[in-house]
């Protein structure tokens, strides 16, 4: 007793130390016990064979790397300090390409136009097949019956921003639709100065300016473009077309055009649509083919051309989409493109088009394959998917990994009623070429389940097929 009294402080401290050591040991090893489970909702899990999947889920404090191969799920969790947002393990085998939107696509411009951005203006009434091209000349446009002259103009491909150290650069223009010839009004020859536009065209004050947006894609040294929208839709003539530039160069050949406007090159029309209900939404290069998405009325139409301009295939989406109002900033749309290569070398590109309009989400998922026509796979019903993280083909089967939503009942004590809460979880689906669902599974993870949605945010950090070949994803923003 005497000894205990003598050493009571030491004993107390030892007990405290032991207690904290045990607690510390427990809390350090707890993340390793985090599990991930694949719940089979529909179909046979054997459909996942051939898709060795790796994905990383992160929330504010943890990064959980999950591997699924041959039906077995394994996971490894790391605790990360609050200020970092990436997991500790380096993802050097991971490809998650999201091209930065502020940089023009490398190579395309220099290849075609010898070092400077191609500049295209589009004149409604000049001779068929001609395009105007200036690089540093004056630009003329018509505003309220008066023709104005302004400085250099450049063609702005969708999603890119202008990079220039020159002030007063603005986007290309247009002229009056009803007149067949341009004319000069000397009284209105003062140049109109605009602000530099970087990316966001809604910064324009439409009362002051006229602009025209052009979508642009380069496929194998061939330039395709299509006008998309303008400050005033009447500036676009009765039709919208997708053009293929057949030759570049300078020269004056267009009758009726003023001398100071250079006409250069020629273009052929590939397809035309009525401007009143059609808009070209996407124009991009996929696997050395031109991929175009055109909204006609409430349907989306998908087209695929080769570099020569030959139509390889087309597909009309089955579901109606909400009309996109160009003036309304609340409408968004995006395309996610997933490229992968099958074991036999076939290149696939799966495109997920999503539109969010007034809390309604519509999605379309179609697949392109080189030398084959567009292959529709899945028209996702609205609201089912917020985001697709992976779409890859193997042996005639398509795997999609996305976030799906499950609604659960919830008693709201303040209002004494029942309402739904939503839990989102990663959902894996495998379909075959007939769009038949072979397998659907849900990935449940300990750390990332949240029942009231708002508190703990979880995000996919990466998601890819392991081994060779690797999958890639690109994001595109839609132009309004």
């Amino acid at each position: 007793m005497k000894y205990i009294r003598r050493f009571q402080i030491l004993l107390l401290c030892a007990a405290l130390l032991l207690g904290y050591a045990a607690a510390g040991q427990w809390i350090q090893s707890a993340p390793a016990k985090a599990r991930a489970e694949l719940q089979d909702i529909q179909g046979d899990r054997a459909a996942l064979d051939g898709f060795p999947l790796e994905l990383t889920l992160e929330d504010d404090v943890h990064a959980q790397r999950i591997s699924i191969s041959d039906g077995a799920v394994s996971s490894h969790t790391k605790y990360k300090s609050p200020n970092t947002s990436t997991s500790d393990e380096s993802s050097d085998t991971f490809l998650y390409s999201n091209p930065p939107l502020a940089v023009p696509a490398s190579g395309a411009h220099t290849k075609l136009t010898d070092g400077f951005l191609p500049s295209i203006t589009w004149n409604v009434t000049p001779p068929e097949g001609h395009i105007l091209s200036t690089d540093a000349a004056d630009l003329y446009f018509n505003l309220d019956g008066a023709l104005h002259r302004t400085g250099v103009h450049l063609c702005l491909p969708s999603g890119l921003s202008l990079r220039s150290d020159q002030m007063n650069i603005h986007i290309g223009y247009y002229s009056e639709a009803s007149e067949s010839t341009l004319y000069l009004d000397k009284s209105a020859s003062d140049p109109v100065i605009y602000d530099t536009v970087v990316g966001d065209i809604t910064e324009y004050d439409s009362a002051m300016s006229i602009w025209l947006d052009i979508l642009y894609a380069a496929v194998d040294d061939t330039l395709f473009f299509a006008p998309v929208s303008a400050s005033n839709r009447s500036l676009l003539s009765g039709e919208i077309s997708i053009y293929r530039v057949t030759s570049f160069g300078e020269g004056n050949g267009s009758t009726g055009a003023p001398d100071h406007i250079h006409t250069a090159g020629s273009a052929e029309k590939l397809l035309s649509f009525d401007v009143r209900d059609s808009t070209v939404r996407i124009l991009c290069d996929i696997n050395d083919t031109l991929f175009a998405v055109v909204q006609t009325g409430d349907r989306l139409k998908f087209y695929q051309f080769d570099a020569e301009g030959k139509l390889l295939g087309s597909y009309t989406g089955r579901q109606a989409i909400q009309p996109l109002n160009g003036d309304d900033d609340s409408d968004t749309a995006q395309i996610q493109l997933f490229e992968n290569q099958d074991a036999d070398g076939a290149q696939y590109a799966t495109c997920m088009f999503q539109q969010y309009n007034d809390a309604v989400l519509t999605s379309s998922l179609i697949t392109l394959q080189t030398n084959r026509a567009l292959h529709p796979v899945y028209d996702a019903p609205g609201g089912d998917r917020d985001r697709l993280y992976l779409a890859a083909w193997r042996d005639g089967r398509l795997l999609t990994v996305g976030l799906s939503i499950r609604d659960m009942f919830y008693l709201n004590p303040q209002q004494s009623n029942f309402s739904y809460i939503s839990i989102d979880y990663p959902c894996l689906e495998v379909r075959n070429t007939d769009d038949r669902l072979l397998y659907r599974g849900a990935l449940w993870t300990d750390l990332a389940d949240d029942y009231h949605g708002q508190t703990n945010f979880r995000a996919f950090q990466d998601c890819y097929l392991n081994g060779d070949p690797l999958t890639r994803r690109k994001d595109y923003a839609c132009l309004f």
């Binding site: 402080i9 405290l16 016990k33 029942f418 389940d449 029942y451």
Partner: protein
């Protein structure tokens, strides 16, 4: 060293009793609250993390712990106040003991720090016990919810039965530590968190010791501040926490030096010849 140990032992003899009382009060409050609310239908879908920390509700285990901590600090402080302030002679006697006087503030800080560490460890145990209690009571809440749905909304009841939702989240206990202020304070997992815990313990210890050493009134303001510091310092950055630690260390060193070189109450009582 021996003098320091004896002083600490002496103080601990009383402070430990107060701490034990505080631990009992905390246990009663937290487990009692859990016992009362966990089986209610309103809380059927909550996982344990949300019992520990939910800012949107009025009460959670987090808040109960901090109230308990404040109570404990007030109790410790009041005891020191009534033991040494009212009767200066008691304090004077301590100072006149054979042994370095500088050991007094050190002993005071150590005693209070040990008490608070015990309190924190007890809270770990309470969270652990609370988890098992909640796990035991949660199915009752689900039954209560389904029963109330059955009477008010039979369709929803049928769907809910079919869906058979489960409120369990594995690793819930671990997450409740990680994601609550209390858990991060009492069981830190990062260096910055560890420093913050040390800072909070130091702040409480120093404010109690100042109470002990000064002639003025109770240092309640400082005490409450240190109690709140435990909450405010959550997620503090590492350099800031180290800075505060250094400041606290400096205050402690100053107190020790002050006691050692300036004997107290020199003007009031005749100073006997110290050893």
């Amino acid at each position: 060293m021996k003098h320091y140990a004896k002083l600490t032992g002496f103080l601990l003899r009383y402070l430990l009793r107060i701490t034990a009382a505080g631990m009992l009060v905390l246990a009663a409050a937290q487990l009692g609250w859990l016992f009362h609310t966990a089986p209610q239908a309103d809380y059927a879908y909550l996982c344990y993390q949300e019992f520990v920390s939910s800012p949107s509700r009025s009460l959670d285990l987090n808040r109960l712990f901090f109230y308990g901590l404040l109570l404990l600090l007030c109790a410790l402080d009041l005891w020191i106040f009534q033991a040494f302030k009212g009767k200066r002679k008691a304090f004077y006697t301590l100072c006149m003991l054979p042994g370095p006087r500088g050991a007094l503030p050190l002993a005071g800080c150590s005693a209070v720090a040990i008490c608070i560490l015990i309190f924190f460890l007890w809270e770990c145990a309470m969270l652990f016990a609370g988890y098992h209690l909640w796990a035991h009571l949660a199915p009752q809440a689900m039954d209560a919810l389904l029963a109330s749905m059955q009477t008010t909304d039979p369709e929803a009841y049928a769907s809910a039965l079919a869906a058979s939702p489960s409120p369990f989240v594995n690793n819930d206990l671990y997450l409740s530590f990680i994601r609550s202020e209390t858990g991060r304070l009492i069981l830190p997992t990062t260096t910055a968190g560890g420093c913050v815990t040390l800072v909070c313990i130091g702040a409480c210890a120093i404010s109690c010791t100042l109470e002990f050493l000064t002639e003025d009134g109770p240092w309640f303001g400082l005490l409450l501040l240190s109690g709140f510091a435990c909450r405010l310092l959550d997620r503090a950055s590492l350099p800031f926490a180290i800075l505060l630690l250094v400041i606290e260390g400096g205050v402690l060193i100053w107190m020790t030096w002050h006691m050692q070189s300036n004997p107290p109450l020199a003007s009031r009582t005749k100073r006997r010849n110290p050893q």
